[in-house]
Amino acid sequence: MSYISCKDLTLGYEGEAVAEHVSFEVNKGDYLCIVGENGAGKTTLMKTLLNLTKPLSGTMEIGDGLLPYEIGYLPQQTVVQRDFPATVWEIVLSGTLSGSGMRPFYGKEQKKLAKENMEKMDIWEQKNRSYRKLSGGQQQRVLLARALSATEKLLLLDEPVTGLDPKATEEFYSLIRRLNRDGITIIMISHDMEAALKYAGHILHIEKTGSFYGTKLDYIESDLYKSFHLNTCRHKHTKACFQGGEN
């Protein structure tokens, strides 16, 4: 039994389908990258996985001990959040709310959990700093610590490196790889094909029809990848692009 298995999903909003016949599964310990053009339905798929919207058709099953609300989520940052007056500590603690039932205030275990995750993300020293004064990379670490406080099983990351500089991006990817090696399942929506091929174990490439799901190695052999890659290279007009994709 997989954590998540989706069969023949039709994704869309307001009754309009943007992608059909999307099938894939996520098993414990996987590292899945979801790629595809803008508007292909990546965000809609993510909302479906989070139970925020229902698919137009098809089924999504959750199993292997994963409960519907045990998906930790790292959203794309909104403008509102970037200048939100809150300390790092307040934000990470809010992640533990999902396990607190109806208790109005945070208990000892919740504070301990938040502290552990902040240490894991190397932001414990920043705990009393204001979120809006942190760099983009640090802000992502805070949101990661919050997501980890909500679940230890599965993280869903939506374009996590958007707006980060190259160094912060590199650090962020290696952080995610470390978490994955520690046993946390990763689903990442990404524009960054190069990084997706470097780090992911499985790839889901969403297209209007004929989406691809499989291991990274199968994906590189697929026609979809070849045509997609060729197109991207034509746009960029670079030689390096042709060479870079083959390794």
């Binding site: 989070l50 139970n51 925020l52 519907p68 609300y69 998906i71 930790g72 989520y73 959203p75 509102v80 959040q81 939100f84 007056p85 809150a86 300390t87 307040e90 934000i91 603690l93 809010s94 992640g95 709310l97 999902s98 109005p104 205030f105 945070y106 009393n128 700093r129 204001s130 004064k133 919050r146 997501a147 909500a150 679940t151």
Partner: protein, 281 residues
């Protein structure tokens, strides 16, 4: 007569004491919610809802209903739920919906008051509903008791759900995805907002309610780094401004609502200026 004696003289009257109690409580409640509303980009909700309440008051007075709250409270609550609760899925989005309702109910209310008025001084009535010029000084004991009960309820609800209100304010999608019942909290926030606005109309009138909601929150955000800090600071600032404003308006015979807002504006600029200096230093 010196200022102290003058104050002593006025505090002898129960209506002045009532005004201070009600003023402070409403200022406290509106500043608490103001932080959430401003951060969620709903600054204009106060304006919109208070105009809806104004329209409802006009309807109530046309129908000659003596206890206006019977109409005003439900109408405002329903509007608040529609605007805040399901704002993301309605046909007309956010700010446009608020603007439309706000202007629309203001016009309808004024029209009704003019056409069906029984009073000799229509513009006086309208003016006092909009600017709350004297109504806070004419509160009955029942008004005061109602206001105290409502305010205490709001404060208790806010404290009990503080952590969840933070979570929903900071990141609604995350809260929803990790199992918080976001709709219930949006509903709660909407109802509490409506209640506070109807209560606050007694104090500053419908036009100036936005000021009570946004100024303390904005001022506090200038100087505080944590959410808790912002909430506490905005509550303290709001109470101080309300006290200073009410006392000043009694001493200098100025309109209560407008005086409170002017005090808040002054504090906002002093704090902004101070924060600017502190950053440079």
């Amino acid at each position: 007569m010196g200022i102290i004696e003058k104050l002593q003289f006025y505090f002898g009257f129960s209506f002045v004491v009532n005004a201070l109690i009600v003023g402070v409580l409403i200022a406290l409640c509106s500043s608490l919610l103001g932080v959430t509303l401003v951060l969620r980009r709903f600054s204009f909700i106060g304006d919109g809802l208070s105009h809806v309440a104004f329209g409802a008051i006009a309807i109530a007075s046309v129908l000659k209903i003596s206890n206006q709250n019977i109409i005003v409270m439900p109408v405002t609550i329903v509007t608040a739920v529609l605007l805040l609760g399901i704002g993301s899925s309605t046909m007309i989005k956010g700010d446009a919906a608020i603007a439309m309702l706000s202007v629309g109910s203001l016009a309808v209310g004024y029209l009704l008051m003019n056409v069906f008025s029984t009073s000799a001084n229509v513009s006086g009535d309208v003016c006092s509903t909009l600017f709350g010029s004297t109504s806070i000084l004419t509160l009955s004991d029942a008004d005061v008791i109602l206001c105290v009960i409502m305010s205490v309820a709001v404060i208790i609800i806010y404290c009990m759900f503080y952590n969840r209100i933070f979570s929903v304010t900071f990141d609604e999608s995350f809260a929803k995805a990790t199992g918080t019942n976001v709709n219930a909290y949006n509903f709660l926030i909407a109802v509490v907002t409506a209640v506070i606005i109807v209560l606050a109309m007694n104090l500053v009138g419908s036009l100036l309610i936005s000021a009570l909601i946004i100024f303390p929150a904005l001022t506090a955000m200038r100087i505080m780094d944590s959410f808790k800090g912002v909430v506490i600071c905005s509550a303290v600032l709001s109470v101080i401004c309300a006290l200073v404003g009410i006392i000043a308006s009694i001493l200098y015979s100025t309109p209560v609502g407008a005086t409170i807002v002017v005090v808040q504006i002054v504090v906002f600029f002093i704090v902004s200026f101070g924060a600017g200096l502190a950053v440079k230093a």
